[in-house]
């Protein structure tokens, strides 16, 4: 039943497991959809959708699939069948052969249900809707040319449920949109590697150990201590603070804030660079030339177990990235941008690049530098989903 709809949902990127699907079929057998499109919609939503982030996708797909079904067209279809009993008989013959169904009783049940739809919105709200199902469970399956009679949704301005769904109220919850601080912090929580093997003098009471050894000593209190479990991860973040990043200032400061707030790391280092990585990086987002650190120094002194996150739009002039000869202030002995990036990549096995802008499917439309940098670092969009994937990547060896 509705197997096409399942396949349609899955092909639309909405993950429905077989288990969910079987529960849906089970729910329909029990008549929870109440023979209305709206009931069917709610039933599907309750059983198939698992998160508010999927609601929008689901509503969109549901709308796509059922948008041509209106209560009017269904009623017309059914009325035609009522006026041409021989046609109906032909269609339902297979059912009639299989099961002992009394066509007269079926027809009565069908008429009763049609009457119920004509009553309008009321037939959806509770017990009434299920009555015909309970009265004649066989009939409910026999009379199923479509998903049921479309009802009107209350408070939707008289629009049928399917068309009201076209409004897509849950768009804001989609995970591929950009983020808030709390969600940032939650993503950073994934960067966790708890360990008791840290260089620290601190100790905390080992409750289970104390109880165990106390019991072994026959009840004489024997206190055991242990070093606390802490996150042993170290993180270095390099943020592009160049002019092309101006539109993304807000999201970068949000990222910065949440990094500090979620600071459960053993060490967190944040540096800034201007447009492209050069021989120095800055300690301050204002790119103050007083507060600089040599990029070389970082590579030599900061150990390779740091997780490194680059944040930037990766949109730079290609000569900045690839060739130094265009820049009169730099001698040719200095490495160009891409070389710096490659050196970072070589040293820090766990490194990713986060980019804030929308990404085009076609690489032709992205800046050339973006494509080049993508060859060096795994790139993720600065959205909830992208950040999570990025964190996931950081936790695993590449």
């Amino acid at each position: 039943m509705f197997l096409d709809f399942l396949l349609f949902l899955r092909s639309g990127g909405f993950k429905v497991s077989l288990h969910d699907w079987l529960s849906l079929i089970d729910g329909m057998h029990r008549g929870y959809h109440g023979q209305t499109v709206r009931g069917f919609f709610v039933l599907c939503r309750a059983l198939l959708v698992k998160s508010e982030t999927d609601l929008d996708k689901f509503e969109e797909l549901f709308y796509q699939y059922f948008k041509n079904v209106s209560s009017e067209s269904l009623r017309r279809e059914l009325e035609e069948l009522l006026h041409h009993p021989e046609l109906a008989e032909e269609i339902f013959n297979a059912y009639a052969e299989q099961k002992d169904i009394n066509p007269v009783a079926m027809r009565q049940a069908l008429e009763a249900r049609m009457g119920a739809t004509e009553m309008g919105p009321m037939d959806l709200s509770g017990t009434d809707g299920s009555a015909p199902v309970a009265a004649n469970p066989n009939g409910s399956r026999g009379a199923m040319p479509g998903p049921g009679n479309g009802g009107q949704m209350q408070g939707a301005g008289g629009k049928s449920i399917i068309h009201a769904r076209g409004d897509r109220k849950f768009r804001d919850w989609r995970t591929d949109s950009t983020i808030e601080s709390r969600q940032f912090q939650m993503a950073f929580r994934m960067l966790r590697e708890l360990s008791r093997k840290l260089n620290t003098q601190e100790e905390e009471l080992d409750i289970m150990g104390t109880i165990n050894s106390t019991c072994k000593q026959g009840g004489i209190l024997d206190i055991k201590m242990q070093p606390p479990r802490r996150n042993k991860l170290k993180v270095m973040v390099l943020i592009d603070s160049g002019g092309s990043m101006r539109p993304f200032e807000q999201i970068c400061s949000l990222l910065f804030q949440s990094l500090l707030k979620a600071n459960t790391f053993t060490d967190l280092k944040i540096y800034y660079f201007h447009n492209c990585l050069e021989s120095v990086v800055y300690k301050d987002p204002s790119i103050d030339t007083e507060e600089v650190i040599k990029t070389d120094w970082i590579l030599r002194n900061i150990s390779s177990d740091y997780r490194v996150i680059f944040v930037g739009d990766a949109d730079m002039a290609i000569h900045e990235l690839m060739d130094t000869s265009y820049n009169p202030y730099r001698s040719n002995a200095r490495p160009d941008g891409i070389t710096w990036f490659r050196r970072f990549r070589e040293k820090y096995e766990h490194s990713i690049w986060l980019h804030p802008q929308e990404r085009d499917d076609n690489p032709m439309w992205m800046p050339e530098s973006f494509v080049e940098i993508e060859k060096v670092f795994p790139m993720f969009r600065l959205s909830i989903e992208g950040l999570k994937e990025g964190m996931y990547k950081l936790m695993r060896a590449n």
């Binding site: 029990r30 008549g31 929870y32 939503r45 309750a46 508010e52 939650m186």
Partner: protein
Amino acid sequence: MSEQVYQFKGTDNYVIDDDLMLTVNIAVGMKKPLLVKGEPGTGKTALAEAIAAALGKKLIIWSIKSTTKAQDGLYQYDVVRRLYDSELGNEGVDDVKNYIKLGKIGEAFTSDEQCVLLIDEIDKADLEFPNDLLWELDRMEFYIPETDETIKAKNPPIVVITSNAEKELPDAFLRRCAFHFIEFPNKELMAEIIRAHYPDIEEELVEQVIDAFFHVREYFELKKKPSTSELLDWISALKLSGLPTDRLRQDLPLIGFLLKKDEDLETAKNSFRGLR
């Protein structure tokens, strides 16, 4: 069909939209835990209370904190107490059962009547927490190794789980639940909710309050938008204070009941300055 379908229709105090009602009934009928999400203050917890009240069942609330472990809901073995008792030679030390204390899930499972079990704010706990409860909620039973007993639910409870979406719940857990996202009520539903809570409120005040409330929600740039529960508090405060309510939207008296964050109060104040 022997079982009752569509049992729940809301209560006098809890106004419910049709979608949610249907979802609740689906979850109850199919014996799946109902996972409710939504903005804070949209009545997720109140839903469980309403279900319990409407179906005339006992409500058992297990509210989850960041330190809660799955085990706490099942049972606890008070080993320290037993140790002390054994040192002092108290009676009953030889029986482990005396030191097993059932948690909220255990309580719901052993209840003689079917009850409603509310697992409140499941996302507060550790990430692994929901996974640890999979088996117990699926099979409605758990095993106590200390006493070699299996506690099986006499009457499987109706399980309602609320979440504020602070943490993602694991897929395996979600698969077993029916899901509903409580939307923020629109003006009509909000009016109905207010009337349900304050039956003798004047119609004019309802309009005023809703007008002001949605104005605040929509036109101020707020960090934390006020929700239904804050609105209800605000109405109580307004009624108690006896302040004039004819210029609510302009004056916003007692706004501290609606806006809780310093920045938001600041935003509201600035907007007044701009108006005057």
